[in-house]
């Protein structure tokens, strides 16, 4: 069945960080989705000019005809500034999805889960963690999440809450540009040594890894994970292109 464009209505907008907003969309013909998939949005100007972008779905599958997208405002971008600066609740745009049968996490997976995110790469991984919490999965899971500063961390409070549920989730963060007083996480870009420490004893030989973020980060992490013993075919990547400004 080919993916058809349908009209999505914005039913909620939430500011996550100074540069990041989440949009709740209602899609009447939504077939449901799997954690890790994305939607394509298409915007059309009066004269017919169109722009299209892909955004990962942030919400877990719920059965309701609604998804949440989390979008970082890219200063030189064409679509994200429009979403951030112009779009209000009640607006509509064309959307199609869900897309992507490869970068998905299913709750029946029992392998230890390794999630590595850079910046807005956290979005599809958050869908996975939200889904994991909903279904009550408790196979061990580790999230390593890189952000520039504390104010850039998306879903910070929710991640803290998920990490204290006692269901085997461990959240490790690194802030690469500036750290608040008393910061106990890492203070540099993700590198092989950091991966080795974070993964130590995390069952890397049997792990299923998902890596998402700017392409350069994904390259370093994917190669690092394979070097640490995660089987290559169990390292799934979603590159976002060059890192944002």
């Amino acid at each position: 069945m080919a993916l058809a464009w349908q009209l999505a209505t914005v039913v909620g907008i939430r500011l996550e960080t100074p540069h990041v907003k989440s949009y709740a969309l209602e899609l009447p013909a939504w077939p449901g989705h799997r954690a890790g998939q994305h939607v394509d949005l298409r915007l059309t100007a009066e004269d017919g000019y169109q722009a299209q972008r892909s955004y990962s779905i942030a919400s877990a599958p719920t059965g309701a005809p609604r998804v949440e997208l989390t979008v970082e405002r890219v200063k030189e971008g064409e679509v994200s500034p429009f979403l951030h600066d112009v779009v209000v609740v009640g607006d509509t745009f064309e959307a199609r999805g869900p897309i992507g049968g490869y970068f998905v996490w299913e709750p029946d997976a029992t392998a230890p889960l390794v999630l590595v995110a850079g910046g807005s790469g956290i979005v599809p991984l958050m869908a996975m963690l939200r889904h994991r919490a909903t279904v009550g999965a408790n196979a061990p899971a580790t999230l390593l999440y890189s952000s520039r500063t504390a104010s850039d961390v998306i879903y910070g409070a929710e991640l803290d809450a998920l990490a204290t549920r006692g269901d085997g989730l461990r959240v490790v963060q690194t802030l690469t540009r500036q750290q608040p007083p008393g910061w106990s996480g890492y203070r540099r870009r993700i590198d092989r040594a950091m991966l080795a420490e974070v993964l130590a004893g995390a069952g890397e030989n049997a792990a299923q890894a998902f890596v998402c973020g700017p392409t350069p980060l994904v390259e370093v992490v994917a190669q690092g994970l394979v070097g640490l013993g995660v089987p290559a075919q169990r390292v799934k990547t979603e590159r976002f292109g060059p890192s944002g400004g």
Binding site: M1, A2, L3, H38, D40, S54, R96, G97, I99, G100, G101, Y102, F103, P214, T215, P216, E219, V220, A222, Q223, V226, P231, A232, Q233, V235, K236, T237, E238, R239, F240, G241, P242, S243
Partner: protein, 96 residues
């Protein structure tokens, strides 16, 4: 399946490359369904892996390359009327 080795030695990791997943919608328009999970055999080196793992480069058109050998697997261009052209000669097979 052979492991996705780093791209051939004379190329450095590319900041602009995407995964096949990123063009999943476009591929769905061409194939009529989501094919990002479908296995694809590289006609150059024989590497087999999901279409979602191909390296995507965006130029005048969209280029999909093998993650093992960087060989050209597919390319897609879109004309002004919205119709697409697909060259899949670099794919020895696609399996669903």
């Amino acid at each position: 399946m052979s492991d996705p080795q780093p791209i051939a030695a004379q190329f450095a990791p590319d900041a602009h490359a995407l995964d096949g997943n990123a063009v999943g919608g476009l591929l769905a328009e061409l194939f009529g369904t989501d094919v990002t999970g479908a296995d694809c055999g590289c006609a150059h080196c024989g590497n087999v892996g999901p279409l979602g793992t191909l390296r995507v480069y965006v130029a005048a058109g969209i280029v999909l390359r093998c993650s093992a050998c960087s060989g050209l697997v597919m390319r897609v261009m879109t004309r002004s009327d919205g119709s697409h052209l697909l060259d899949a000669r670099g794919a020895a097979f696609i399996r669903r």
